[in-house]
Subunit: 629 residues, 2 copies
C-alpha cells in the first residue's frame, strides 16, 4: 500500500510538472506578447510566438532531459488472444483492474519525457471555448450582410477544396508508390481525409491579424465568417470520411454506396448540430427572459456558461459534433440571449469567454510547437510534404476564384480581385487542422499526415501570417493600425458602425424580407426583451397568449431611446429599478444582403429536408442510426 | 481497429453524459437558488439545496437505471506475483499497454452506473479556485484586526480539536471492538486522521450564510478567517498523519519518533506553502508593476490567472500542499498585486474567481448528495456515527471556549459569550472535509469514516446552516438581511467601511508598528503603485536604487486624492492617460490589533525557523527529504 501511494504521488507530481511547464510557457508568451504590442512590433504574430516558445521547450525536452526507463512498469507480460478494454490481474487473491492505454510500439527503444496530452483534450476542453467565442462575438452586421458569400465559401468551397486536395494527394501518393518512397499503406480515403482536415482555415489567426489591422469590413467579414464555418465543415466532413471508410482493410477504394452514406452522415450531423445548438440558445433566451435572474449577475453568468457547455456535452452524448453545435449555440446566444442579460452579465460573459479563448488558443499553439520535437512517430517525407504544399494552394485557389466569379454574378458590390488574392493568401491553417490530425496517429498514413500538417501550420502562420501586412499594402487595401483593439469589444463595435456608411443599403428580396420581418416581429419579441411587444404584432385572436408572453420590460424599453452602448453603467440601483437595456431600434439592424439571405434560407431548408429524408431512409433500410443516437 | 474506435467513442459518450448530468444538475440548482432568493426564502441554504438535488439524482441512478454488465471488460484474467503500475499484453505480436486503475472488490456483484469522479479532481480542479477566492476576497480590515484570534483558533484550536476528536473516537472504537461491532482494522492513527479531516470548518457555507446576513463584522471576520485557515491546517495535519504512520501494518500505535517527524512535516509543509504562495504573489506584483501590462486588461487577467495557478502546480510538483499555497498566494495577490491592476482587470479577476468559486462549490455539494447513494462501499455503523457526532461537538467546544477565554485575557474588546456560542454552533463541515475523506477509501476504516463524514456534513449544513438565522435572533446578535449582497464586491466593501466606526483604534505595540511601518514604507512601494514613493522613505544613499524602483505612476497617484472606489470607471481613454488608481491613503488602512500582530509575527518567525531546523536536522540524520522534493 505504501509503495502504491508513493507511485501515485510520483505520477501526480509528474502531471503537475507537465502542466506547470505549459503554464509557465503561457506566462512567458503573455509577457512577450505585451512586449511586442508595447514596441509595436508586428511581423511575428502572437500565435507564431507561442509556437516558437513551444519549439524551444520541445528542443530542451528532446535533447536536454533524459528520463530513466521505469523498470517497475514493464515487469509483467501476459499473452492473450484478444485485446479487452480492461484487464483483471490476480495477485494472491486480490483483483486489480487495468485499463487499456493503447498499443505500444515495440521498436521504439528511447524513453522520451512524454509531455503529451490526450488528443481528446483539444476537442473537449480547448476547442469548445474558442469556437463558442467565435460564434458569440460574431454579432456583426457585416457578417450577416455577406452571409451568402460566407456560406458559399465555407460549405461549397471547403468541399471543393477537400476533393481537390484529396485528388492531388492521391496523385502524389501514386507517384511516391512508383518511386518506392512509401513505407506503408495510404489509401484513397486517407487522401480524402487529409483533404478534409487541411481545408479548414483558422479563425484564430485570421481574427487576430485582421482585427488588429482594421481592414475593409467586408473583407474581414468574409475571411472571418468563412474560417469559422469551414471549421465546422472540416470536422463533419472528416468524421464522415472516417466513419464510412469500408472496414475491410483491403477494399479501401471509395465505393458509391459508402460515398452516399458519407454524404448522408455529413448532412445529418451538420443539421443535427445546427438544430441542437440553436435550440440550446433559444432555451437560454427563454429562461433568461422569463425569470428575473438578471438581478443576480453571478447566477446569470453561471447559467449562461452552463447552458452553453451543456450544448457541447449533449451533442457529444448524442454522437453529433459538439464543436459545431457550440458554434451555432454561440451565434444564437449572441443574437437573442445577449439582449436579455443584465449589463453586468453582458460584460462578464464576454470577458469570460474572451479569457478562455485567449488561454486555449495560446495553449494550442505552444503545444503545436512542442509536438514537433516531442512527438515520437514523425514521418517526414519530402515528396509528400511538397505535394501537400502544392495541394493546399491548388485547393484554396479552386475554392476562392471560381466561387468568387459565381458570387460576383449575383452581388451588387463585387468581391474585387484584390480581395480574392488576400483571401487566397491569408488562408492560414491552425488549431482545428492540428486538433483533427493529432486525433488519430495510429497508422503510417496518419503519422505522415500529422507531420506534414504540422509543417504546413508552421509555414502558413509564420510566413503568411507575418506577410499579411506587406501583402495588404502591396494590394493597396486600406488599413490602419488600431493599437487598442484588444482592449474591449465595444471598441470594435463602434469601429464597425463608423465605417458602415460606406456600403449602401441593398435592395431586398421577398425571402429575405420574410425572414427578417418574422424574426423582428415574432422571434425576437418572443425570446428577448427587445423588439416591438408581441401584443402589437400578433393578430387580435392571440392577445391572451401575447399578453402572457410579453414581459413588462418590453414596454419600458420603448420609452428609452438613448443610444448609449457603454455596457458599464453601474450607477443605477439594482434592487428596484430595471437596468436600462439597449433600445430595439439599435439592436435589429442586422440588415442582410438579399442574395445572401436566399442562399441561407435555401441552405437551411435543404439541410433540414436532407436530415429528415436520410433518417427516414435509414429507418426504412434498417440501418440503425437511431441505435447509435 | 474499428471495434476499438467504437469502444473509445462509447466511453467518450458515457463521459460526456456523466458531465452533462452534473451540468444540468447545476443549472437546476441555479434556477432554484434564484427562486429562493426571489421569494426571500432562506431556511434552506443554497449548498443544502445542491445536496438535495444531488441526493435525488443519486436515488434515480441507484434505483432507476440498470446498467448491463460489460462483458468485454473482464474476459482475461492474468495471475501474477506483483502488482505493477502498468502491464503489457501480447496479442499475436502486438503489445498493448494497460494502466492500473485500482483494486476491484471481488464481493461487489452489482454493476451500478458509476457517476463517480476521480477524487483527485476535487483536490486539483475544484478546491484551488475556492480556496484562492477565499484568500483573494479576504482583503478586509476586520480580518487583519482579528488576525491573532483567527490564527489562534485556526492553528492551535484545530490541532486541539483534532486530538480531542481522535481520542474520543479511539474510545468509541475500543467500545465497538468490545461489543463486537468492528469488522476490520481501526488503528489509533486512523482515529487521529479522522480527527484531522473532520476538524476543518467550511468557509463556503460560512461565507454564504454570514455574508448574506450582515452580522457583526468582528464575528464574521472571526468565523470566516478561522474557517479558511483551518482548511489549510486540516490538509497538512491529515497528510502528516498519513505520511508518518508506520508502514508495518502491525505497529500502528504512534511512537514518539513518528510523532516528532509528523510534527516536522506539518511545520515544514505549512511554512513551505506559505513561502511559496507569498513568493508567487510578490512575483506577480513585481511583474504587474514594472511592465505596462495594464494597458491590455486581457493579458493582465490571463497573467494573473496563470501565475496563481502556477503556484498550485509548483507546490504540488514540490510535494507540498498546493491548496495551502494557493490560499497564501490569494492573500498576497489581494494585498499587493490588486493595487497594480488596471480598473478593468480588477473587476475581471474578481468576477472570474467569483464564478469559478460558485461553480466549483455547487458542484462539490451536489456531488456530495450524489455520493450518498452512488458510492458502493458505504459502512454505516450506528455506534461510530453517534461517537463521531459526540466527538465533533466536544472537539469544537475544546477549540472555542478555552481559547476564547485565553484570548479575552489579552484583547481590548472581548469575544462575548454569545459570539462564542455562535462560533460553536456555526462550525459547519463541508467541501474540504468531504474532499479529504473521499481521497482514500481503500480500507474498512476509511470507508466507515467516509460514510460518517458524509452524514455529518449533511447534518451540519442542513440543520446548523438552516438554524443559523434563528440562532442569531435568539442570541440577540444584530443582523440585517442584505438582499443584494451577492451582486458585487464593492457593496461589501462599503458595508464594512460604514460600520467601521463602531470599533475604535487599538493601542499599538512595537512589533506591530514595526511590521506595519515596514510594509507601508518599503514593501508596498516596492511591489505596488501605492504608498509613498521609495525615494522619500529610503535613506539618501539608496537614491539611485529607489529611483529605478519607483514607477512614474506613484507620483501621479499622489496628486489624486479622490475617494471614488467604484471600479467601473470606463470613461477614461486608455492609450494616453493613466487610469486613476485608488489613493494610497485609502488602501493602507489595514490597521491591525497589536496582540494579533504579535501572534502573527511570532508565528511566521517560528514557522520559518522550524522549517530550517527541520530540514537541517533531516540532512544531518540522512533522511532524504530533499530527495522527495
Amino acid at each position: 500500500a505504501e509503495r502504491r501511494r508513493q507511485q501515485a504521488e510520483e505520477s501526480h507530481r509528474q502531471d503537475s510538472t507537465k502542466v506547470l511547464v505549459f503554464t509557465l510557457l503561457l506566462t512567458l508568451t503573455i509577457l512577450t506578447i505585451w512586449l511586442f504590442k508595447h514596441r509595436r512590433f508586428r511581423f511575428l504574430h502572437e500565435t507564431g510566438l507561442a509556437m516558437i516558445y513551444g519549439l524551444l521547450v520541445g528542443v530542451i525536452l528532446r535533447f536536454g532531459v533524459h528520463v530513466q526507463p521505469d523498470v517497475s512498469n514493464s515487469t509483467l507480460t501476459c499473452v492473450g488472444k484478444s485485446r479487452p478494454s480492461s484487464l483483471l490481474l490476480n495477485v494472491s487473491g486480490h483483483l486489480y483492474e487495468y485499463e487499456l492505454r493503447g498499443e505500444v510500439d515495440s521498436r521504439s527503444s528511447d524513453n522520451l519525457p512524454s509531455a503529451t496530452f490526450d488528443p481528446e483534450v483539444f476537442f473537449n476542453i480547448l476547442l469548445p471555448p474558442i469556437i463558442f467565442h467565435a460564434g458569440y462575438s460574431l454579432k456583426r452586421r457585416h457578417f450577416f450582410r455577406n452571409l451568402g458569400a460566407i456560406l458559399t465559401y465555407a460549405f461549397v468551397g471547403t468541399v471543393i477544396s477537400s476533393f481537390v486536395i484529396g485528388l492531388v494527394m492521391y496523385g502524389c501518393v501514386a507517384l511516391m508508390n512508383a518511386i518506392g518512397q512509401l513505407d506503408g499503406d495510404f489509401f484513397f480515403t486517407d487522401c480524402l481525409f487529409f483533404g478534409a482536415i487541411i481545408s479548414a482555415t483558422d479563425p484564430v489567426t485570421v481574427l487576430a491579424i485582421f482585427s488588429e489591422l482594421k481592414v475593409d469590413v467586408d473583407l474581414y467579414a468574409l475571411m472571418f465568417g468563412e474560417s469559422v464555418l469551414n471549421d465546422a465543415v472540416a470536422i463533419v466532413l472528416s468524421s464522415s470520411v472516417v466513419a464510412y471508410q469500408p472496414s475491410g482493410e483491403s477494399s479501401q477504394a471509395l465505393d458509391g454506396r459508402a460515398m452516399l452514406t458519407s454524404l448522408g452522415v455529413f448532412l445529418a450531423v451538420l443539421s443535427g448540430s445546427f438544430v441542437l445548438g440553436s435550440a440550446a440558445g433559444v432555451l437560454t433566451a427563454l429562461v433568461t427572459k422569463f425569470t428575473r435572474l438578471r438581478d443576480f449577475p453571478l447566477l446569470e453568468t453561471a447559467l449562461f456558461f452552463l447552458m452553453s457547455w451543456s450544448t457541447f456535452l449533449l451533442a457529444e452524448a448524442c454522437s453529433i459534433t459538439g464543436v459545431v453545435a457550440v458554434l451555432f449555440c454561440g451565434i444564437t446566444q449572441a443574437h437573442y440571449t445577449y439582449n436579455n442579460l443584465s449589463a453586468e452579465s453582458k460584460s462578464r460573459t464576454k470577458e469570460l469567454f474572451e479569457l478562455l479563448n485567449f488561454l486555449a488558443e495560446n495553449f494550442i499553439f505552444s503545444y503545436m510547437g512542442l509536438t514537433l520535437f516531442s512527438f515520437q512517430k514523425h514521418v517526414f517525407n519530402p515528396v509528400f510534404i511538397t505535394g501537400a504544399f502544392l495541394a493546399i494552394f491548388l485547393g484554396r485557389a479552386a475554392n476562392i476564384y471560381p466561387l468568387s466569379f459565381l458570387l460576383n454574378l449575383g452581388r451588387t458590390n463585387a468581391i474585387s480581385l484584390n480581395f480574392q488574392h488576400v483571401m487566397m493568401f491569408a488562408g492560414l491553417r491552425g488549431a482545428m487542422t492540428f486538433a483533427l490530425s493529432i486525433r488519430d496517429t495510429a497508422t503510417y498514413a496518419r503519422q505522415m499526415m500529422f507531420s506534414s500538417t504540422l509543417l504546413i501550420v508552421f509555414f502558413t502562420v509564420w510566413v503568411f501570417g507575418g506577410g499579411t501586412t506587406p501583402m495588404l499594402s502591396f494590394l493597396k487595401i486600406r488599413y490602419t493600425h488600431t493599437h487598442t483593439h484588444i482592449h474591449s469589444y465595444t471598441h470594435t463595435h463602434t469601429h464597425t458602425q463608423e465605417t458602415v456608411g460606406t456600403v449602401g443599403r441593398r435592395d431586398t428580396a421577398w425571402l429575405f424580407r420574410l425572414w427578417y420581418t418574422f424574426d423582428h416581429k415574432y422571434v425576437k419579441p418572443l425570446l428577448t426583451h427587445s423588439g416591438p411587444p408581441l401584443i402589437t404584432t400578433l393578430p387580435a385572436c392571440c392577445a391572451p397568449v401575447a399578453h402572457c408572453l410579453t414581459s413588462s420590460q418590453t414596454y419600458e424599453v420603448k420609452a428609452h431611446t438613448h443610444t448609449d452602448t457603454n455596457i458599464h453603467t453601474h450607477t443605477h440601483t439594482h434592487t428596484d429599478t430595471i437596468p436600462p437595456t439597449m433600445p430595439y431600434t439599435q439592436i435589429n439592424n442586422n440588415y442582410m444582403d438579399c442574395t445572401d439571405m436566399v442562399v441561407y434560407g435555401t441552405l437551411c431548408v435543404v439541410l433540414c429536408c436532407a436530415m429528415l429524408c436520410w433518417m427516414l431512409c435509414n429507418v426504412l433500410c434498417g440501418v440503425v442510426w437511431c441505435g447509435v443516437l
